[in-house]
Point group: C2
Chain length 415, copies 2
Amino acid sequence: MAQPLPVSPLARPMPELGVVRGVRLGAAAAGIRYKGRTDLVLAEFTPGTTVAGVFTQSKCPGAPVDWCRAVLPTGQARALVVNAGNANVFTGRAGRQTCAATAQAAAEVAGCTPEEVYLASTGVIGEILPVERITTALPALHAALSDTGWDAAARGIMTTDTFPKAAIRKTRINGTDVVIQGIAKGSGMIAPDMATMLSFVATDAALPAAVLQTLLRVGVKTTFNCITVDSDTSTSDMVLLFATGAAGNAPVADTVDALTDPALAEFKTALDDLLRELALLVIRDGEGATKLMTITVSGAVSDESAWRVAMAIGNSPLVKTAIAGEDANWGRVVMAVGKCGEPADRDTLSVSIGGVCIARNGTVTEGYDETPVVAHMKGQDIDIAVDLGLGNGTARAWSCDLTHGYIDINGSYRS
Amino acid sequence: MAQPLPVSPLARPMPELGVVRGVRLGAAAAGIRYKGRTDLVLAEFTPGTTVAGVFTQSKCPGAPVDWCRAVLPTGQARALVVNAGNANVFTGRAGRQTCAATAQAAAEVAGCTPEEVYLASTGVIGEILPVERITTALPALHAALSDTGWDAAARGIMTTDTFPKAAIRKTRINGTDVVIQGIAKGSGMIAPDMATMLSFVATDAALPAAVLQTLLRVGVKTTFNCITVDSDTSTSDMVLLFATGAAGNAPVADTVDALTDPALAEFKTALDDLLRELALLVIRDGEGATKLMTITVSGAVSDESAWRVAMAIGNSPLVKTAIAGEDANWGRVVMAVGKCGEPADRDTLSVSIGGVCIARNGTVTEGYDETPVVAHMKGQDIDIAVDLGLGNGTARAWSCDLTHGYIDINGSYRS
């Protein structure tokens, strides 16, 4: 972008971050695309760190996504390298070589194997990533790593983001205090199908990779997979979750049921909560966003069906422009329900905005007074609730409005 | 809208329209929503006129859609009533009563049964349609009907449209000259799933309703069902095709195979061509549109799969904003292919813009020179071609760019 973007009106201040024992990280300005800002992040993990990951469902994934998928089965991680400004997507053999060279360079400074290095890239698609700028910058970046480098890392992975995103939770596993801390970036091309581009979370808990993977897979279902800015799914989406074990909690067998084991219950709640906070920070920085939309769907034939209805509402350009215009145009919500292909019956459908039931059983509520709804539309947080009246399926999704800012940003992204 | 919208830069002048023997039509200002313009259209068909129709697949269809679906099985039509400004959607029992009263009033002036009257409404969703304004206006409107009323009808069905849309074809059935003439409206909420809101076509050919229905069903598949402005499918989409029989061609049995019978071949080609022209006129009036995008997909595993890929590209906000910004950001085309869930292989994928192959087999073409593509992007007609390299499936779809104009129009539609 020629001009720095104004900070989103929905931005939240960075929380006071802590340390995750076993993780040291930092950022450097490698000059990959942006001038005068950091664009390269390195994190190093203590030996024995386990890892879980979820990735974009795109059929055209970036080379770093392919790399991470290939090394993930070992469940072991010692380093993470992230660059902003170039996504290393649709770059063919050159892109694969870039990944191998970056992993090799990071392995040398971290004293591990390339297969213990995780890679992520974000930025423009289809341009060759100048890998030597990364490999040249890594030794000095490694020498400066610190366990307080989280803020710098959150800033170093930004692209069209207007504010850095991080969250922290303190929780317990079987009586032992542990911390979970993560960062995220994302602003456009946001309709994650397994995760959003990009989020990295670490904990000092000791957890087997298989348990970690289950917790992450289930955690993103109701968080990162329930947000959308523009219905466009990135080729580079990725959430990685690292567990260093430095907290020294009692070992967790890799055969436990991660979703029901009482020893993990508190941790699971904290992780889900943190993932939701990070996901919402991404929507709060949705390109051009001025309002945060929370869409609650009930009465669907299944949770999956409710999710599809919620996402159809959140993705509808006409709903999103109505929100931008502070217009309580609930007819467009009806349209979005009707178009999405899920079971729905006009004559059992109810729509509420801001807690006011506007339409019920296929027609407008008798004596409907638009006044409180008009007031609600002027706020930053817009609540839309739909009850399909068919079953017990529920879902909640988050989106933002569609404004001139989105057009400004995306009509000239590469210039 | 408070201010009349400027005419789309992609607008086409109205063609010189003819007469379809057996059809008389006209428009009146009934004051349904708009001031100082026509908003009610009546067409009367000669006895024996057959009819075919395709309708929105929305689960929340408008009352007029329900009405037309219910009366269509008879295959007979004597009148058509269309109003603009209020869609009569999500209006419950009142909406059904409005339809019955309108059909009754039209039947009285046309001397037919209510079941021979077809109804369509377009405009805002969820508001009660003031039916008495329609029924009051019908007798005078009927008295003024004329076989040259096509231009007035094309204007009377407009909402956010910035120019009237019509097309004409002269063709032959078994040696007899026949004419096909139609009108359309549509500008936003355009992602038809069986048809777009709204198009009405008439021919003086004599054709059984079953044959007409087959021709229309197949005809919309590659025309109206291949256009999108904003991925939002209207609750009111409808294409009706009337055949008055006034041309006096040799009778066509209702048992012929409409798609392969040689006597119908020329007519079928002309009808498909006319439907495509009307569909493209709708895209040319896409809300805020400044460029017409033609998307050609080949090498897919099936035609259906190719269609889904083409529509994913045409619906992507990031592709559409890049076109608006005259940015040959082909990486976003790759993203759209990757996200849509259809079989695709990054490493066999090719992308061309303006006839220039930019990327092939998963990476940018060697020695790619962006100069001719940059020049192409500055034009009004943008051609995007994708070859998936997997099979023989092909499809073509049409869309438009996403500009500030779309936000302006839709952030304040009800005000």
